[in-house]
Amino acid sequence: MANSLFETVLASTVHDMKNSLSLIMNQLDNVSIDLPRQDSQAISTVMYEASRINTSLMEMLALYKLENKQLAVHIEEVIAIDIVEECVAASAQHATSRNVRIEIDCDNTLIWFFDADLVSIAISNIIGNSIRYAESLIRISVVAKDGELVIHIDDDGDGYPTKMLDEVKDFKSRVKFSSGSTGLGLYFAHTIADCHVRKNRRGHIRLRNGDRLSGGSFRMILP
C-alpha cells in the first residue's frame, strides 16, 4: 500500500513538474524570438537547464519503473538518423550559445531495432554533457558493424577524468551527490543499453579519451 501510494505521488508529481516545465520552455521560446542576441544567450542557458531538469525527471521515472518491472524495453524498427537528429535538435540552441558545432555522420537509410524513447533520453543527456565539456566540436557517428549498432559521441574537450574511465564497469557506485556531476546520465545510458538483448548479445557502453577527437569519447553499443 505504502509503495503504491509512493508511486502515485511520484508519478503525479513528475507529471505536474513536466507540465510546468512545458509552459516555462514554451514561454521562453516565445520570448527569445524578440530579444537581442545577448539576452537570448542567457535565455538559452535557462532553457538548457530546464531541459536538463526534464531529462532527469524522465530518467528517474524510467529507472524507478524499470526496477519495479513496470517498464519494459519496447524494441521497434527505428531509422537511426531520425533519433540522432531529434536528440541534436533538442540541444541545438544550447550548443549554438556555447559556440559548439555538432557534426552528424550517419547513413540516411540505416534501420536498427531498439527502444527509441529510452535510447533518445540517454543520448540527449550524453550530448548535453558533451556540450558542456567540448571546446568547439562534437561529432556523432552511427555505424552498424558485425551485428551491432554503435553510436559514437566524441568531443574536443579535456576528456573524462581517469578515475571515471577506470570505474567504467561500476557506474552505480560512482553516482556521487557531493560533486556537481552525479554520473546519473552515464548510469542511465548503461542501464538502458543493458536492457537491450538481441540474438544472445547484450548492449553496453564504453568510455575512452582521445578516440576520434581529442576529448571524451562515449560509445553506446546496441546488439
Partner: protein, 528 residues
C-alpha cells in the same frame, strides 16, 4: 523554414489547456501551417472530425474530464472519422507508459513528449511528414479501392525508399488480412520475425493462427508473447479471445480481468468482460464491468442502450448476494445512471422502453417500490409513443417483468395500459417476422440467381429484400458486395452512392463473424 507539406495540411489540435493549444498553433504557424482548428475536449473533437477530414491531429493524452486521448483515437477509428494516412500525434507528459495501453490497431502514429523546444518539435514533425509522404500514393490507391495496385505500390515504394520497408510491409500485411488471404499475411510476418520479432509481426502471427482456427497454437503463441512483451494489453486481449473460442470461458474472464487491471478505460474491453461474466453467472463482475463501460463511454457513441440494460439487469442479480452497505451504494449509483440514461435517450423511445422496464424491475427487487412504480409509469408512457418499437427479445423481457411487477400495489393502472399496448407490439413483431421470412426467401432467390451468373437479376432481388428489411446486415452486405467487388459497377457513381448508403446502415459488433467481410468491403469504398 516553411514546410510545404504542412502548408497544404488541414490540422486539428486537441488539448484542454488553451495555453498549450496557442503555443502549438504558434509553432505550427512558424513552419507555414495555415489551416488549423482546435478543440478543448473529445466531444468537440469528434464533432469536428465528423465534419472535416484532417491530415494531422495533435491530441493531448490527458484531456481532463471526459474521454482521454486514447479513447478518442479508438472512437475516431471505430467511426471511420479519420482518413487512412492521416497522422495522429499523441502529446503526453509521461510518454513512457502511454504506449502499452491501446489496442495495437489503434496506436497513434507518434508520441510527442512534453515539454519540447521549438527546434525539437520542428525536426520531429519534418521527419514524420517526410517519412509518411512516400506512403501517400498507397493510401490513395486504397481510398480509390484499387487493392491490387496498392499492393504493387507497396513494393515499388519500398524499393525507391528503403526506409519505408517496414511501413510498406505492414500495410501490405493489413491488405492481405482484409482480403482474408491469411497465408500471404503470414509469410510477411514470418520473414520479419526472422530478422527481429517486432510486436506487430508477432501479434500478426498469432492472429494468423487464430483466424485459421488453430486456437490452441494461437493461445500458446500469445502466452509466450506475454513474457517477451510484458504489459502489452493487446496480447492479453488475444489470450482472452483464444480461451473463449476454446470454451474456457472462466479462464477467458480471468485474462480479460487482467487486461482491464492494466488498462481499464477501453469501452470495448469492459463490455466484453461484462458479456463474459454474465454468461458465467458472475453478476457482480458483470455489474462492475457494465458500470465502467457506461462511465468510460458516457461521451462516446460506442455505448448503446443495451449496455445500460445489461447494467440494470446485472445489478439486480448482483445485489442479492450483497451486504446492506454495498447494496445501498449500487442503488445510489443506479439512480444516477438512470438519470443520465433518460437524458441521453430522451429522443429514442425504443431504447428508453427496455431500459425503463429494467429499472422498474431493479427498484422493485431492492424494495424501492415508489421508484419502481415511477419507472413503470414512464414505461407505459414511452410505449404509447408512435415511434416506439419493441424487439422480440425485449417483448419477452417486458412480459416477464410485468409478472413480477404486478404484485405491487399501485401498479395496476400502468400494467393494464401496458398490457393493452403490448398487443400492438405482438402484432407488429408477427408482421415483421412474416416480412422477414419473405425477405429471406427473396434473398435466397438472389443468391441462386447469382450462382447462375444472372447478376443483374440477383442484384434486383437483393434490393427487394432490403426494401422489406432495411436494416438486415445480410441483405445489405449481399447487395453492397455485388457493386463493390465488380470493377465495372464501381465506375458508376450512382451505384457507388447506393453501396455507400447500404454500408453505412450496417452495424456489427466487434467480433461478429461478418465483420471481416464488412471491413474488406469498406476498404473498397472511396475514402473508407
Amino acid at each position: 523554414m516553411y514546410n510545404r507539406q504542412l502548408t497544404k495540411s488541414r490540422i486539428l489540435i486537441i488539448d484542454d489547456f488553451s495555453q498549450f493549444r496557442l503555443t502549438l498553433i504558434g509553432m505550427l504557424k512558424l513552419q507555414g501551417a495555415v489551416d488549423i482548428d482546435q478543440a478543448a475536449n473529445a466531444v468537440n473533437a469528434v464533432n469536428l472530425c465528423a465534419k472535416n477530414r484532417y491530415d494531422i491531429i495533435f491530441c493531448d493524452y490527458n484531456l481532463g474530464a471526459g474521454q482521454d486521448g486514447q479513447q478518442l483515437l479508438e472512437e475516431l477509428h471505430e467511426r471511420s472519422l479519420m482518413s487512412r494516412g492521416s497522422l495522429f500525434m499523441m502529446v503526453t507528459a509521461e510518454m513512457i507508459s502511454a504506449q502499452v495501453i491501446g489496442l495495437l490497431e489503434y496506436r497513434p502514429d507518434a508520441y510527442l513528449a512534453k515539454p519540447f523546444a521549438y527546434e525539437q518539435f520542428r525536426t520531429r514533425l519534418d521527419r514524420l511528414l517526410a517519412r509518411t509522404e512516400p506512403l501517400k500514393v498507397i493510401y490513395q490507391a486504397l481510398d480509390n479501392g484499387l487493392i491490387d495496385e496498392a499492393k504493387a505500390l507497396c513494393d515499388q515504394v519500398q524499393q525507391r525508399e528503403p526506409t519505408t520497408r517496414f511501413s510498406c510491409q505492414r500495410i501490405k500485411s493489413e491488405i492481405f488480412e482484409q482480403q482474408q488471404d491469411f497465408d500471404a499475411a503470414q509469410a510477411i510476418y514470418e520473414a520479419i520475425i526472422k530478422e527481429q520479432p517486432l510486436l506487430w509481426t508477432m501479434v500478426g502471427m498469432g492472429k494468423f493462427l487464430f483466424n485459421t482456427g488453430r486456437y490452441q497454437e494461437a493461445l500458446g503463441h500469445f502466452q509466450e508473447m506475454k513474457v517477451s512483451f510484458p504489459n502489452q494489453v493487446s496480447v492479453i486481449d488475444w489470450i482472452a479471445y483464444c480461451l473463449e473460442k476454446m470454451d474456457k470461458i472462466e479462464e477467458s474472464e480471468k485474462a480479460l480481468d487482467e487486461a482491464i487491471k492494466i488498462s481499464p478505460k477501453s469501452v470495448t474491453r469492459q463490455s466484453h468482460l461484462g458479456e463474459i461474466a454474465e454468461s458465467l453467472g458472475h453478476y457482480d463482475t458483470a455489474q462492475k464491468a457494465y458500470s465502467r463501460t457506461i462511465q468510460e463511454g458516457q461521451h462516446s457513441c460506442m455505448v448503446t442502450a443495451e449496455h445500460y440494460q445489461r447494467y440494470y439487469d446485472n445489478s439486480r442479480k448482483a445485489v442479492e448476494d450483497m451486504s446492506a452497505r454495498q447494496r445501498s451504494r449500487v442503488v445510489a449509483d443506479t439512480e444516477l445512471i438512470a438519470k443520465k440514461m433518460e437524458r441521453r435517450f430522451s429522443n429514442n423511445p425504443t431504447a428508453l422502453a427496455s431500459n425503463l422496464c429494467a429499472l422498474a424491475t431493479f427498484f422493485k427487487s431492492v424494495d424501492r417500490k415508489e421508484k419502481s412504480t415511477g419507472f413503470l409509469g414512464k414505461l407505459s408512457k414511452t410505449l404509447e409513443h408512435p415511434e416506439c418499437r419493441v424487439s422480440e427479445e425485449n417483448f419477452a423481457f417486458i412480459e416477464e417483468s410485468l409478472q413480477s411487477l404486478s404484485s405491487s400495489d399501485g401498479n395496476e393502472k400502468s400494467i393494464a395500459k401496458i398490457t393493452t399496448r403490448m398487443k400492438d407490439f405482438k402484432q407488429a413483431i408477427e408482421t415483421e417476422k412474416k416480412q422477414d421470412e419473405i425477405a429471406r426467401e427473396i434473398n435466397q432467390q438472389g443468391l441462386f440467381l447469382l450462382k447462375q451468373n444472372q447478376s443483374q437479376q440477383a442484384m434486383d432481388k437483393f434490393r427487394e429484400a432490403i426494401d422489406i428489411m432495411p436494416e438486415n446486415p445480410n441483405y445489405l452486405l449481399n447487395a453492397a458486395q455485388m457493386i463493390l467487388l465488380d470493377d465495372n459497377m464501381r465506375d458508376d457513381s450512382k451505384l457507388m452512392t447506393e453501396a455507400r448508403s447500404w454500408m453505412q446502415r450496417i452495424n456489427l459488433k466487434p467480433r461478429d463473424q461478418r465483420r471481416p467481410l464488412y471491413m474488406m468491403l469498406r476498404g473498397r469504398l472511396p475514402n473508407g
